[in-house]
Symmetry: C2
């Protein structure tokens, strides 16, 4: 067996054991792209090895998806297929684990009419409410991981041949997810624990707001919730199953108050949104709401995000990632949020996290909104961290403490 | 553009235009394997070019399917996923065209517990009754075509490399479906008409039964229905849309009387059933029912077919294909029913065709059964034609007329 095959098998095992923490007799819904078919087979085999009752594999093909968006009328995207909603909702109902293997071409959807993507995202969210609700209530295990595929790999490593680029991207993935350690499962247990001290400190400080500064011009105050919680290093269901929603994960994050962001923030990395790039952009906030936006590339894509619903103009996440994070240090720009968000402090427009609010998993979407947790059909991360970012925590009484200094943890 | 790409595009156009006769604004459900992903993209693009409202592509992966059958408990196959049933049934409800691109590895399921395959087939049929019913009532367009894929190609051409085998199988497919003619669409119009004279003659004769003889030992009398109809060369929906359920198609066929088959029949080609081969087999019939069976290879698979339900032990189809059919003359054994059934006279165990009975499309399954058209969850063709097959038509008064002599049409 080749080294790569061995690493792929270790990775598949890690995903099913640690990412999904799959229980014997549990069902698994695996979403994958046709271009990562072989890895999907390995993951399916591993899930059965670990006792899955049934693995349902849902393949999508980006080139076919692009054809849909090119040719279908806007109204078609308003009509989300009932069978697709039933798939997600019935799997949620039976407590399946939801695993997505992503391998997106960063440019898959360039030039597509953004209003169709917006409609799709909106109708999908509406139709899959029971599934979304189960996630928000902490009832489900879900996990997003990556697989190297030619289009993506060549975007990351444009100077290499497709084959070399795929190999190199696999190596970068293996490194980011600690597959190249002696015992990846133990490495992830250790990784989980490594977040504890910083999370505990942040939660103990009860900051009222954070003040972000960067050399790009960012000068933003993000208001937090009184009952806000900092999370990171993995998640746990209400019934006690530990899992990792994202692999890799390097962030400690919370949900800010939806009504309290003031100032301007500049992006520090390109954002790839549904296969279209947005570059060098800024957002101005007033009373928590985006009141102005500007992008050198992808202004229409950025505006489309903001148009999804009113929640899309407000913040749902505020995440801290030091500049010395292993993914930032790899020097690779992945053009993929799963990686890039773990290389940089970031914010997200759209939906907030119920588990970042004390008792939030027992509240409805509307109740969460009322207490300050943003409600939206979307959630779009964008990177703001830089080598010289400073973040200051401000207490309700105005007392200030440094959180980040020169891009890294200050405590 | 290479010659192969040109031919693939002509083939995609032929499938959507002639096979599906897709109407502007109609939906298409396309089922394909991950290993024919590229061709599925071309067909999807063509469907949109011809005005499809939406193309829903359902990918399956044989290696993953095999994992399911290897690892899931039998009970899992009794529980057909509701979302899958909803997909088929809702598409039928909205009058979508159903297109399947097949590329099956003939040995994909060798060694799999047949009872699981039987349960799957049974529960799928039950759950998709509205879809099945719409087909039986002649309301739907459905079309099965093939795409070359490595596993299948290397089984057909074991002496060639995977790449060479795939190329050669594509050429064989192009030839069988007349893509290598100057105007394939016109060739298929012509082909449709070429069946008319023989169908008309057979329908005018009102044979009571057919007597099959072959040098392999076949000596079988198949009773026909008084109101039976011979079909072939394409189909037409009750609303008047002409389509081709199979491409290629070289057969003229009817549904025999389910209670009247007597004698023994020997297979003339291997039968691949859900990825398991059955070779050199015979079936003995009494009062229309299989009372004995024997296979040199795949006895368990054959017995599994017969165990699906009581209808699986009786005949649902009797099809006439001359030995000089172009597919037989190609000398290629395709190990795939779509091709092999068009190279040889064949019978099918299981479900009969409502459109092979006068007024049959207005009858329920049970009503059809009562008048002699077989009812079953399955339909399995098996080849019996040989170079020396003779078939005699016998009228109700005992008068005999030759239909086949030395393997070919005798009239």
């Amino acid at each position: 067996m080749s080294k790569v095959t061995q690493d792929l098998e270790k990775y598949a095992e890690l995903i099913i054991s640690s990412g999904c923490n799959l229980q014997p007799g549990q069902e698994l819904l695996l979403s994958a792209s046709t271009d990562s078919c072989e890895f999907a087979r390995m993951v399916t085999a591993e899930a059965y090895k670990q006792g899955a009752r049934r693995v349902t594999v849902r393949f999508a093909d980006e080139k076919i998806s692009r054809l849909h968006f090119e040719h279908c009328a806007l109204e078609v995207f308003k009509d989300f297929p009932e069978w697709q909603a039933l798939l997600s909702n019935s799997m949620a109902e039976k407590g399946a684990a939801f695993l997505s293997i992503i391998s997106d071409d960063p440019l898959a959807m360039v030039g597509i009419d953004q209003s169709k993507l917006v409609e799709h995202s909106r109708s999908s969210y509406e139709a899959c409410k029971p599934f979304q609700q189960a996630i928000a209530e902490g009832k489900l295990v879900w996990c997003i991981v990556a697989a190297a595929a030619p289009q993506w790999a060549q975007h990351v490593f444009p100077q290499l041949s497709a084959e070399e680029a795929v190999d190199k991207l696999w190596q970068a993935i293996f490194s980011a997810v600690r597959v190249n350690t002696a015992d990846p499962l133990a490495a992830w247990q250790q990784h989980r624990k490594s977040f504890d001290a910083r999370k505990a400190w942040l939660n103990s400080q009860h900051f009222d707001r954070l003040h972000f500064h960067s050399e790009l011009g960012t000068n933003l105050v993000v208001g937090l919730n009184e009952k806000g919680l900092w999370q990171g290093g993995g998640d746990i269901t209400t019934s006690g199953t530990e899992f990792f929603p994202n692999m890799p994960t390097e962030e400690i994050f919370t949900t800010p108050n939806r009504l309290r962001a003031e100032g301007i923030v500049y992006s520090s990395m390109p954002l790839i949104h549904y296969g279209s790039p947005i570059k060098d952009f800024s957002l101005s906030f007033k009373n928590g709401k985006v009141v102005d936006c500007s992008a050198k590339v992808g202004q229409d894509v950025l505006e489309a995000i903001l148009s999804i619903d009113k929640g899309a103009t407000r913040l749902g996440e505020c995440a801290l990632v030091p500049w010395d994070s292993p993914i930032q240090q790899s020097g690779i720009l992945f053009f993929n949020t799963l990686f890039d968000e773990n290389a940089s402090c970031h914010l997200a427009l759209g939906k907030g996290f119920s588990d970042c609010f004390e008792g939030g998993q027992k509240l409805s979407e509307d109740e969460l909104e009322a207490v300050g947790v943003n409600k939206s059909a979307t959630h779009v991360d964008f990177m703001i961290g830089t080598a010289n970012m400073s973040i200051t925590g401000i207490k309700p009484d105005g007392h200030e403490l440094p959180i980040f200094s020169k891009g890294n943890w200050a405590f």
